[in-house]
C-alpha cells in the first residue's frame, strides 16, 4: 500500500511539473514579450521596459521558470499588474467561493446519483428503470448554465426562496453563504448526477453477470444480498473513475456558473484577467485549477487501492 501510494505521489509530482511547463510555455514564451503583450500596441518602449522590470521578466527563460515555480511553492504567485496586489491575496479571497461551490456540487451529485443508480439497477428492465434512464438522459443534455437561469427564475424570482445572485461572504454566517451557493450547486450537480447515476447502474448490472455473483447465489444469498455484499464494492471501481473526472468538470462548470449568479469566485477573476491582459493572474489561476484536477486524480488513485486489494498488493 505504501509503495503504491509512493508511486502515485511521484507521479503526482511529475504531472505537476509537466503541467507547469506547459502553462509557462503558453503564457510566457509563445507571446514573445509578455510585457509588450500586456500593455498593448500603443505602449512606449520605456513603459514596456519598466513593466518588464516590475514583472521580473528580465532573466533567462529557465531562470524565470524556476523563479515562478519556487515562488508558487512558497505561496508567492507574483503581483497582479492591474490590481497592484499580490495574486495570492486575490486567489485566496475567490477560492473561498469556487472551492466550496465545487465540493457542494460534488456532494450533491454523488448523494443523489448513487442511490438512484442502485435503484435503477435493482429494478432493471422495469418501469422505474425506464423512468430513471429517461430522466437522466434528459439531465445529461441540459447545459448547466441554462438550467441555472431557469432555477433563478423559478426559485429566486417567482418564489423568492434563494437569492438570485451575489455572495454575502462567509463572515456573515455560514447559512446565508450556503443559501447563496445552493442554486449554483444544484445547477452544477444535476447534469453530473445524471451521468453518475447511469454509470452506477451499468457498473452494478455489469457485476451481476460475473461468476462471483453466481457463487454468492449458490451460497444461498438472495439477489439483493448478492448485489449488496459483492456487487457494490466491485462496482465502485468504475464509479470512482467517473467521480474523479467529474471534479474537473465541476470546477470548470463552477467558473461558468459564477457568471450566471455574479459570484465573486475564480471565474470572475480569470475573466477579468483575460480582458485586462493580466497574464500573471491568468497563469496563476490556471495553474491552481490544474493543480486541483491533478490532486483529485491522485486522491482517486488512492481510493482505488482502498477498494481493490489487487492494487494494494501490486508490486
Amino acid at each position: 500500500m505504501i509503495r503504491y501510494a509512493a508511486t502515485r505521489l511521484i507521479s503526482l509530482g511529475l504531472s505537476l511539473m509537466a503541467a507547469s511547463f506547459v502553462i509557462f510555455a503558453v503564457v510566457e514564451v509563445i507571446p514573445g514579450d509578455p510585457a509588450a503583450f500586456m500593455l498593448g500596441m500603443n505602449a512606449s518602449e520605456e513603459t514596456v521596459a519598466a513593466l518588464r522590470d516590475e514583472l521580473g521578466l528580465t532573466g533567462s527563460l529557465p531562470a524565470r521558470y524556476l523563479g515562478w515555480v519556487t515562488g508558487m511553492l512558497g505561496g508567492d504567485f507574483g503581483t497582479s499588474y492591474t490590481y497592484r496586489v499580490p495574486v495570492s491575496e486575490l486567489i485566496a479571497a475567490r477560492l473561498w467561493v469556487s472551492l466550496p461551490l465545487a465540493l457542494y456540487a460534488l456532494a450533491l451529485s454523488t448523494l443523489l446519483a448513487l442511490p438512484i443508480g442502485m435503484l435503477a439497477a435493482a429494478r432493471r428492465g422495469r418501469a422505474t428503470d425506464y423512468g430513471i434512464m429517461g430522466l437522466t438522459q434528459l439531465g445529461i443534455a441540459v447545459p448547466n448554465f441554462w438550467f441555472a437561469m431557469l432555477l433563478v427564475v423559478l426559485f429566486a424570482i417567482t418564489w423568492p426562496i434563494f437569492p438570485a445572485g451575489g455572495f454575502p461572504g462567509w463572515e456573515n454566517g455560514a447559512w446565508p453563504a450556503l443559501k447563496a451557493l445552493t442554486l449554483p450547486a444544484v445547477a452544477l450537480a444535476l447534469p453530473q448526477a445524471s451521468i453518475l447515476a447511469r454509470v452506477m447502474r451499468s457498473a452494478l448490472i455489469e457485476t451481476l453477470g460475473q461468476d462471483y455473483i453466481r457463487t454468492a447465489r449458490a451460497k444461498g444469498l438472495t439477489e439483493g444480498q448478492a448485489i449488496r455484499n459483492h456487487g457494490m464494492r466491485n462496482a465502485m471501481i468504475p464509479v470512482l473513475t467517473i467521480v474523479g473526472l467529474q471534479f474537473s468538470f465541476l470546477l470548470a462548470g463552477a467558473i461558468i456558473i459564477e457568471k450566471v449568479f455574479f459570484l465573486p469566485g475564480l471565474g470572475l477573476l480569470i475573466f477579468q484577467g483575460i480582458t485586462q491582459r493580466d497574464l500573471v493572474v491568468v497563469e496563476s489561476v490556471v495553474m491552481l485549477l490544474v493543480f486541483a484536477v491533478i490532486l483529485v486524480t491522485f486522491l482517486v488513485d488512492l481510493a482505488y487501492a482502498l477498494v481493490d486489494p489487487r492494487l494494494r498488493h501490486s508490486r
Binding site: L14, Y212, R214, T215, A216, R217, A218, T222, R310
Partner: protein, 520 residues
C-alpha cells in the same frame, strides 16, 4: 438422497432438458457426462433453481423427500448453500476479487444464520484447513488474487461445504486446471463425499475423469439421459450407441504411417527467453523472468513431435519464439538451416504455419473465409490463381469451395478449426505448429480433426509440432515427445517409451495424475 423426477426445461420456448430423472444416494457420486450443449449444466442449475430469466421448469426435484421445485424463492435461498453446495468450472473468476477468502467462506455460515461472526471465522478457518488450505500458510485475510487456480478451487469447495450440505454439485470443477492440480482436487472431492456422506452430482465432458470419480454414470445427449447405470457396467457394456461413440472418440487413435527422414527440419539450440516483469515503481529496476531456459531439440522432416507441460511451463513462450514472433535472449532456432527471428525473410516464414486453440478467436470476425485464407499470401505475394488455391485448401480440409464466401461465425467449432488448418496449408508449408489445436473441441469433433491432420501429413509430407496439455492425445498422434517443466525440457524420447517407462520424476508425476479411461 436427491431425486430428479421427469425434469424438463424450456429456455425461451426452446426445449433444453427432456424428462431427466436421476437419483443419488448419500455418499455416492453420479457422473453426468456429455458434450457441450447436451444440457449437463442446465440440469445442475435446475436443481439449484438458478436458471436464466424466461425459463420454464417442470417435473420435481426431491431432497430427502422434500420437493424443491415449488419452494418460494426465500426458502430456496435457505436450501442453496445450506443443503446443496455447488462449485463451478472457472475458479479464477468464481470468487469476489475484493473480499478476503475468510469472509467469503464465513459468509455461507452468516447468511444462513448458522453462526455468529466470531464463530463463523473459526469455522471458516477449520473448513479451509479441511480442503487443504492450512491457516499458517493461508490465513483468512488472503485475497483470491494471491492464490493459484487450484487453491482458489479449494476455497470454492470450502464455501460450498461450509454447512455440510446433503448434496454437492460440481460442474466441470477441474476442466480449467492442470492435470496434477486436477488429480488433487478430484481426490479432495472424493474424500469429502465419503467422509461427509454427501451425495455428489459430478458434471464433466471427460470420460476418463468420470470413470475415476463416479459410482454411477448418466450419459446425456441433446437434453436427454440416453444411458444410466453403475460406472463399470456403463463403460463395459455401452448399450447406447452414443455412449459407445463417445467412448471410442475419447480414445481415438488416428492411423498414421509416418515417413520420417533423418535430416532435422527445425532445430532449437540452447534457447533462452526472458520476460521483463512489471517495473518496480517508476524508477525501479526492471527484473526479468526466464520463461525458456536452455531448451534444445530437433524436429525431423515428416515427424510429429509432441511438447507437453502444464500452464506456465514456458511452452507458449517457446512457441512464439519458434514462430519467429519474439526474439531469443540466447541460443538459436533454425528452420532447415536458416535462422528464425522476428526479422526473418518472408519465404522462410511461409514454410512454417500455425493452428491455434480457440476456434472462435482465431479469425477476424469481419473477414470472409476467402480473405482469411489469403492472409499468408502477404508473405509471398498473391498468386494469380488465388480463388483456385482457396478452393483447393478448403477441399483439402473437407470443406466445400463455396464456403469461401461465408463469414467465420457461420461455421461450427470443428469447421472453424478446419478453416484454421486450411489457412495454415494454403502457403504450402513444411512445418505446422499445432498449439493446443484440438483442446477446445468436443471429443467426437476432436477425433475427426485428428484424422484429418494424419491424412494431411501423409499427403503433403508435413511435419508437426504438437503442443498440448492433454497427454492421451499427444500419445496417440506423436512419434516423439518432449516434457517441459519450468522452462526446461526434463525428458525427451520416443512417445511410447516415454509414456511406458518415464524416466524423469516430473513425467511420472504427470502420467500418474492423468485420469485414464479403462479399456473396454
Amino acid at each position: 438422497m436427491i431425486a430428479l423426477e421427469n425434469i424438463s426445461l424450456l429456455l425461451a420456448g426452446i426445449p433444453v432438458l427432456r424428462d431427466v430423472s436421476l437419483r443419488i444416494p448419500p455418499g455416492q457420486t453420479l457422473g453426468l457426462v456429455g458434450e457441450s450443449g447436451s444440457g449437463k449444466s442446465m440440469t445442475a442449475l435446475s436443481v439449484m433453481r438458478l436458471l436464466p430469466d424466461g425459463s420454464q421448469l417442470s417435473g420435481r426435484v426431491l431432497l430427502e423427500g422434500r420437493p424443491l421445485t415449488d419452494l418460494p424463492e426465500r426458502k430456496m435461498c435457505a436450501v442453496r448453500g445450506g443443503q446443496i453446495g455447488m462449485i463451478f468450472q472457472e475458479p479464477m473468476t468464481a470468487l469476489n476479487p475484493v473480499q478476503t477468502i475468510g469472509d467469503q467462506v464465513a459468509e455461507t455460515l452468516l447468511v444462513h444464520g448458522a453462526a455468529r461472526r466470531s464463530e463463523a471465522r473459526e469455522i471458516a478457518k477449520e473448513r479451509l484447513a479441511r480442503v487443504g488450505l492450512a491457516p499458517e500458510r493461508f490465513p483468512l485475510d488472503r485475497y483470491p488474487h494471491e492464490l493459484s487456480g487450484g487453491q482458489r478451487q479449494r476455497v470454492c469447495i470450502a464455501l460450498a461445504i461450509a454447512l455440510r450440505p446433503k448434496l454437492l454439485i460440481a460442474d466441470e470443477p477441474t476442466t480449467a486446471l492442470d492435470v496434477t492440480t486436477q488429480a488433487q482436487i478430484l481426490e479432495l472431492i472424493r474424500e469429502l463425499v465419503r467422509e461427509e456422506g454427501m451425495s455428489c452430482l459430478f458434471i464433466t465432458h471427460d470420460l476418463a475423469v468420470v470413470a475415476e470419480m463416479a459410482d454411477e454414470i448418466a450419459v446425456m445427449k441433446a437434453g436427454e439421459v440416453v444411458e444410466h447405470g453403475p460406472t463399470g457396467e456403463v463403460l463395459h457394456e455401452m448399450r447406447h450407441p452414443y455412449t459407445r461413440a463417445l467412448f471410442e472418440a475419447s480414445r481415438h487413435c488416428p492411423e498414421r504411417a509416418p515417413i520420417v527422414q533423418e535430416a532435422p527440419l527445425l532445430e532449437v539450440e540452447n534457447a533462452l527467453r526472458d520476460y521483463p516483469l512489471k517495473r518496480q515503481g517508476l524508477f525501479g529496476r526492471r527484473e526479468h523472468f526466464r520463461a525458456v531456459d536452455g531448451v534444445s531439440f530437433a524436429l525431423r522432416r515428416g515427424e510429429s513431435l509432441g511438447l507437453v507441460g502444464e500452464s506456465g511451463c514456458g511452452k507458449s513462450t517457446l512457441t512464439r519464439a519458434i514462430l519467429g514472433l519474439e526474439p531469443l535472449q540466447g541460443g538459436a532456432i533454425r528452420l532447415d538451416g536458416e535462422a528464425v527471428s522476428p526479422t526473418m525473410p518472408a519465404e522462410l516464414r511461409r514454410r512454417m504455419q500455425v493452428v491455434f486453440q480457440d476456434p472462435y478467436g482465431s479469425f477476424n470476425p469481419r473477414y470472409k473465409v476467402s480473405k482469411l485464407l489469403a492472409e499468408p499470401f502477404h508473405l509471398i505475394g498473391r498468386p494469380t490463381d488465388l480463388d483456385a488455391r482457396v478452393a483447393e485448401a478448403l477441399e483439402n480440409v473437407g470443406l466445400h469451395a463455396t464456403d469461401a464466401d461465408k463469414f467465420p461465425h457461420e461455421f461450427s467449432g470443428g469447421q472453424r478449426q478446419r478453416i484454421a488448418i486450411a489457412r495454415a496449408l494454403i502457403a504450402r508449408p513444411e512445418l505446422i505448429v499445432l498449439d493446443e489445436a484440438v483442446s477446445a473441441l468436443d471429443v467426437s469433433v476432436r477425433a475427426q480433426v485428428l484424422d484429418l491432420l494424419a491424412d494431411l501429413q501423409a499427403r503433403f509430407g508435413l511435419s508437426y509440432l504438437f503442443i498440448a496439455h492433454d497427454l492421451s492425445v499427444v500419445r496417440s498422434v506423436t512419434d516423439r515427445v518432449l516434457v517441459m517443466q519450468a522452462g526446461r525440457i526434463v525428458e525427451a524420447g520416443e512417445t511410447e517409451t516415454v509414456f511406458a517407462t518415464p524416466r524423469a520424476a516430473y513425467t511420472r508425476e504427470l502420467l500418474a495424475a492423468a485420469p485414464v479411461l479403462p479399456a473396454a
